[in-house]
């Protein structure tokens, strides 16, 4: 469970959030809205990359930024389309990250690579990858450690329709595979929300719940 308590956040003199409180406990939560309203900033605060000016982010009972807890634990994250090491191959990048937690076996990594149709290109340099392939790399690194929390910023960007469908199926399976698993993702587009349990948007510095379609 992730809880926001009286969050206030300014960004370059603009107030993005004012006294925002919310409890996220549903398995799949979407943060919708247009570009520039603060979706990514909200995710950054939830994971611990960014700090609220006041208020607290509480994850499983622990306050982020206190008692040596820097980031949300047991999570798979990508925010603001992070890039990999361009001079390495796609596989070397993923293997390097997999080696940190040592939870993802070589077989599992291979399965994910095949699932996203990257088998033929995975040993090429990352700098030669297209936008869609880069997005698939980000998705693989997020899910490969089987994390409890998935925090994904625009996960369907740059993907073709086939890849979007496969990604949705994978994320749905991932969330339903274990008790307490949760995914929070942002999207500025009207993606399929059939597997989404709650939708929020940011309006006048507040987090507002939207009805499910």
């Amino acid at each position: 469970m992730i809880e926001l308590k009286h969050i206030r956040k300014k960004y370059k003199e603009n107030i993005l959030f004012e006294d925002v409180s919310a409890v996220f406990s549903s398995p799949v939560i979407k943060i919708a809205g247009e570009n520039g309203i603060g979706k990514s900033v909200l995710l950054k605060m939830i994971v611990g990359y960014s700090f609220p000016d006041s208020g607290q982010v509480i994850c499983d009972g622990s306050v982020l930024g206190e008692n040596g807890r820097d980031f949300i634990e047991d999570a798979g994250i990508f925010i603001d389309a992070p890039q990999f090491m361009s001079q390495w191959s796609g596989y070397d990048n993923l293997a390097y990250l997999a080696d940190i937690r040592k939870r993802c076996s070589a077989e599992k990594l291979k399965e994910l690579i095949e699932y996203f149709d990257l088998t033929d290109d995975i040993h090429k340099k990352y700098r030669t990858y297209s936008l869609g392939m880069r997005q698939k790399m980000r998705l693989i690194q997020a899910v490969m450690d089987d994390p409890k929390y998935l925090i994904l910023d625009e996960p369907f960007d740059s993907l073709d329709q086939t890849a979007v469908t496969k990604t949705m199926a994978l994320l749905k399976d991932h969330v339903s595979a274990g008790a307490g698993r949760m995914m929070i993702y942002t999207s500025h587009s009207e993606t399929d929300t059939s597997f989404t349990d709650e939708i929020y948007t940011i309006d006048h510095h507040k987090l507002v719940a939207l009805p499910l379609h």
């Binding site: 950054k44 994971v47 611990g48 990359y49 960014s50 700090f51 040596g68 820097d70 980031f71 949300i72 999570a75 994250i77 990508f78 925010i79 603001d80 992070p82 890039q83 990999f84 090491m85 361009s86 001079q87 990048n93 390097y96 990250l97 940190i100 937690r101 690194q141 450690d145």
Partner: protein, 237 residues
């Protein structure tokens, strides 16, 4: 390991460095020791003034810029990529762990850079011996090798600082602080005739400089460890 693209850096740096050395050697070879020539390569302005600009071969500027461009490009491209990649490493462990790992990587890079520079220096010495038949003393080569290690430590201190500053938010002073430090060092060398950045051509001075550089690296690492806990993470590439 994250860090610097050594293959590309090694080839471009070696080629540009060796070529620029021979362009320098022709006008300045008489009565100049090997460390002095090395310093001229790094555009030590006080030495240029001493040896008269009129004898300076303008072609050297081209080689120097070529050398500088490729070296800087290779380093900076890697540093930019690391910023983004590090965000994916960070959440898998902790700030302290990643920072310690970055410092360990920098120490490995110091060894690689030292070996690369020493290989270049030895190649130049060998080429000089066979081509120009100029004797280079063992003390000079040893002194230059020590300088290479010292230079590697200084350079890696700057790179490590940039990599860590890149992670801070806001990162506006990422490049300003380390580059101003280097410019100040070069300026100090030129004005005072000291050798903070350039080679002193003195074995003891180089040893002393190496100890000071290592101390600087340790101080930087400790400061970064301290400040890093209190800063937001910049995850833009």
């Amino acid at each position: 390991m994250a860090g610097v693209g050594w293959k590309r850096l090694g080839i471009t740096t070696s080629a540009a460095y060796i070529m620029s050395f021979f362009f320098l050697l022709l006008p300045y070879r008489q009565n100049n020791s090997y460390p002095v020539l090395l310093n001229l390569q790094f555009l030590n302005f006080s030495m240029f003034a001493h040896f008269r600009f009129s004898r300076f071969d303008p072609m050297h500027i081209i080689w120097f810029l070529w050398f500088f461009h490729f070296t800087a490009d290779a380093f900076l491209s890697c540093i930019n990529e690391n910023t983004s990649f590090l965000s994916m490493r960070l959440y898998r462990s902790s700030r302290n762990e990643v920072l310690k790992q970055m410092i360990r990587e920098s120490l490995h890079d110091i060894i690689r850079l030292s070996v690369l520079l020493i290989m270049i220096i030895v190649s130049i010495a060998m080429l000089s011996l066979f081509w120009i038949r100029e004797n280079i003393s063992a003390a000079s080569v040893l002194c230059v090798c020590l300088y290479c290690i010292r230079f590697s430590v200084l350079l890696q201190t700057m790179i490590c600082a940039i990599r860590i500053f890149c992670l801070f938010n806001p990162p506006s002073y990422v490049f300003t602080l380390p580059f101003l430090s280097v410019l100040a060092g070069i300026g100090f060398d030129a004005v005072s005739g000291q050798h903070l950045i350039t080679c002193s051509a003195d074995l003891l001075m180089e040893l002393y400089g190496l100890v000071l550089s290592a101390g600087l690296f340790c101080a930087m690492a400790l400061c970064e460890l301290h400040f890093f806990k209190r800063k937001e993470v910049n995850i833009h590439d």
